[in-house]
Symmetry: D2
Subunit: 284 residues, 4 copies
């Protein structure tokens, strides 16, 4: 294994100092990293109040405990839908209050960190911004949990060093999120890298969440890869659910319908008993 002492030394705050060290992050009545498997769900983008509230009720009924939804959308083309911005944040907060779910949304500009922090429970730092070091530092100055997505071609070392940027500012509530890496394979949008999940759970005390929706870009792979991610040691999943995927303003092809999400959660629940009995106690 090429995990050298120098490598571990560079992770002053993110590395485990003993095999059982764990960071638990409390979000409302949920605890991430404490053994329970958390599911976050919702649409890629907040499109309207009706869309979000209906989705929120659906994912809550199915067992999700965090509502996701983008207000500021980083899109490859300037001509694509860019999100509703502040209006999206307001819708997200209303849906959260009405339905009773914690929320996560992406922040993409240092100047917006304070604003977004007032509206949601978890700040998401997206893959395109994983090495936007100013933004990492700015979210590090808030008291909010941060969901740090791995860059689409970031090494595991770079990903953990990005977490280190946030933690160095005093915010140790970092949730790592694997969301697929860029490879040569054309049949999937990304290659969801569960090796990285297993490795990071050995190296770091931080909780890890997996995004099989973006990570594969293929609806049919969301369930099998989601189950595999939890089996490999992930603390939770983040899943795209849309009430009408064909009309989604972003990422419709990989979104589950509410009905598909209910089946997804039923299958995940079958695994729960297994995780409780797992003997796994690896350490490096």
């Amino acid at each position: 294994m090429t995990i050298t002492p120098d490598f571990l030394e560079s992770l002053k705050l993110a590395r485990k100092n003993n095999p059982s060290q764990k960071t638990e992050i409390k979000i409302r009545d949920i605890t991430l990293g404490g053994g329970e498997k958390i599911v976050m769900a919702g649409p890629c983008a907040v499109e309207s109040e009706e869309q979000l509230v209906r989705t929120a009720w659906e994912v809550k009924k199915a067992g999700a405990t965090v509502l996701r939804g983008g207000a500021f959308k980083p899109r490859s083309s300037p001509y694509s839908f860019q999100g509703l911005g502040k209006k999206g944040l307001e819708i997200l907060r209303r849906a959260s209050r009405e339905v009773g779910l914690a929320t996560v949304t992406e922040v993409i500009d240092t100047r917006d960190v304070e604003l977004v922090s007032r509206y949601v429970d978890i700040l998401q730092l997206g893959s395109r911004n994983m090495q936007n070091f100013q933004l990492l530092q700015e979210v590090g100055k808030t008291g909010k949990p941060v969901l740090l997505k791995r860059g689409m071609s970031a090494t595991i070392e770079e990903w953990l060093l990005a977490a280190e940027y946030i933690m160095k500012e005093g915010n140790h509530q970092v949730i790592l999120c694997e969301r697929g890496i860029r490879t040569f394979e054309p049949l999937t949008r990304n290659t969801l890298d569960l090796n990285a999940v297993a490795l990071v759970k050995n190296i770091s005390h931080l909780p890890v969440v997996v995004d099989p929706s973006h990570g594969t870009g293929v609806k049919e792979l969301v369930l099998p890869m989601g189950k595999a991610a939890l089996t490999v040691g992930a603390d939770g999943l983040i899943i795209e659910v849309h009430i009408d995927p064909d009309c989604a303003l972003a990422d419709g092809k990989q979104s589950l319908t509410p009905g598909e999400f209910r089946e997804f959660m039923a299958e995940i629940n079958v695994l729960k008993e297994f995780w409780g009995r797992s003997l796994n106690s690896l350490s490096i």
Copy 2:
């Protein structure tokens, strides 16, 4: 999903014609692809009769049903140990008879196919030879099951077309084996691609086996990725086990000791009950 009708059309023999179509492959008293999860285990290379027989007893006791061991070793450098050749095949056969295990070994030359076929139950076609089309055709002319490893940077399409080469010669007993792809990540030897396993199980009726030992190159990842592979739908695993990894002539760093392999199998057995109850019935 970019699985087009043209793509499926090109897989005349390997594609599923209905969601429940499955190829079951009988090897002695084992059936691969029929629902039972098979574990193949053994050293990377056959080094001596004593080494192999001891390993064979160990892996059999732990629950493996196929013994692996390389006689012809494809090595990057001509100055590395190249395997024992025909002597290795003889040792493999003696160990198989003494211990009572089916066997799999790699064949790397069209001229050796007939020879190797006489000694083992399953012919392995390694990742470096996945597009050695003459060798594919030659193993296609035998009546032997073939374990077809994915090339280290082969697309899923190329992998399935390689299977098509074997099947076109009349041999439909092809076992696909995912063994990790080459990416930019330096902490793992390869990136084991479970997306590909889930996708192939949807597209093709052929059984799929996963090699988390080569696929990660990291001993600590063999168990979590092995469990994840079976959870995602793989029909079996192939695991490197060495009685003395530090003295192995090849790949010691990723080999489990017999004791570690027993723990591995105990953990795998915990999952068995889950797989029996899984509701998963995906199709594309």
Copy 3:
């Protein structure tokens, strides 16, 4: 060629509308994109006034016309040298005035765009920020030329769409900069992608500059890859030069000494006559 009409249609501002269309960008008395090959040179990071002024004299004497030097340094680790910040900008301006060279430096925060714009001639947008869309828009609102580095695993399409973000804000002075992509090859820091340069020169009217220092990370490759880049159609080069590479605070291994840079420029000058006589008039 997989350059579809849809692809070209998406590049409303960056695509060529006829084969001879070219954007020429004037920076002081230099014109980039007009046929003359421009060389930008200087240290990775501004470390002190003495270091920068000495380097500036050296690179000017050798034939460079733009001085590079980072004041805000995006570093993978929060524990690495992060640049001198505003003090670095001041040193850069003083060196520029004393020696008489145009300047380029990186901006990494939307909040700093106005500040940095006051100090330098060209704003650099680094590879880690290629999809920091807020920063792209912010530099698009200035009247300054922008050097847009390709993300380390950005496709050519994503790179051109990033340029589109800047241009959509009204700033058409975009200089594309190829700086190497991330691949599986461990012997070079990155794989400098000259295919992309040739392709972009066919698709877009924007000037293209190549960075063989970061692009290879290997001092010995800077000259051969620099010559090849200009031969393939690049409008200029950006080269790391340090008066004492062994003591550099960043990227010493790939920096040329002033003496090596003089030899580099001598060799480049040999090629100039050739470019003048080239018959090349490709178009897609």
Copy 4:
């Protein structure tokens, strides 16, 4: 630079022992590796005598000195055209005699090495077979020059070790051929890696040839990348030329017509004077 003494030590036969060491390979009246730039040209596959003889005359008139043409074609799908086999070899020999050109063709099976050796001047070992170690050894036992294509995701180290396999058998006439690596970029078929060419010319005394046709898969990139390859230090090029690319049985999209090839050679000739005056004398 990560070229360690251990790395160089492993290349017992392929590494340079002093900066000016060069292997010159004589093929009829041509010398490869001696300073002159050689161009090999012809169709991807031998399709008929008429096609090959016409092409041979065309490429000879334009200045090529080696005729390429595949008789045994390694194709991803078993349902694609597989080449004319022995009949293709006969056509190749007749064209060679009639027109007066040296020839190169691929060998893909250990059992065919002796046969193919009787028909052509240079044996090509294709990218899919770069780690077919038995085939490497077999061509190493002939007295024929071998064109060794880099595997599509082979590291530079693996490529040089493959050469070592051939040389260890006593055949030191190895021509390395860079033909593009597999990356994430979808606009080109492969990413032609000129960094590797520059690096290998520093490390090894073997001649290097570049294939910009397969290496980019884009007709418009063949000339710029071909020029860049020679500028970076390659000893020659191998170019696909087809009398009627639209009707080619393989790789039509990247083939030049005879007319385009004449323009290509005219442009290459402009560069010749430059190479003669180049001061480049790099060494690691």
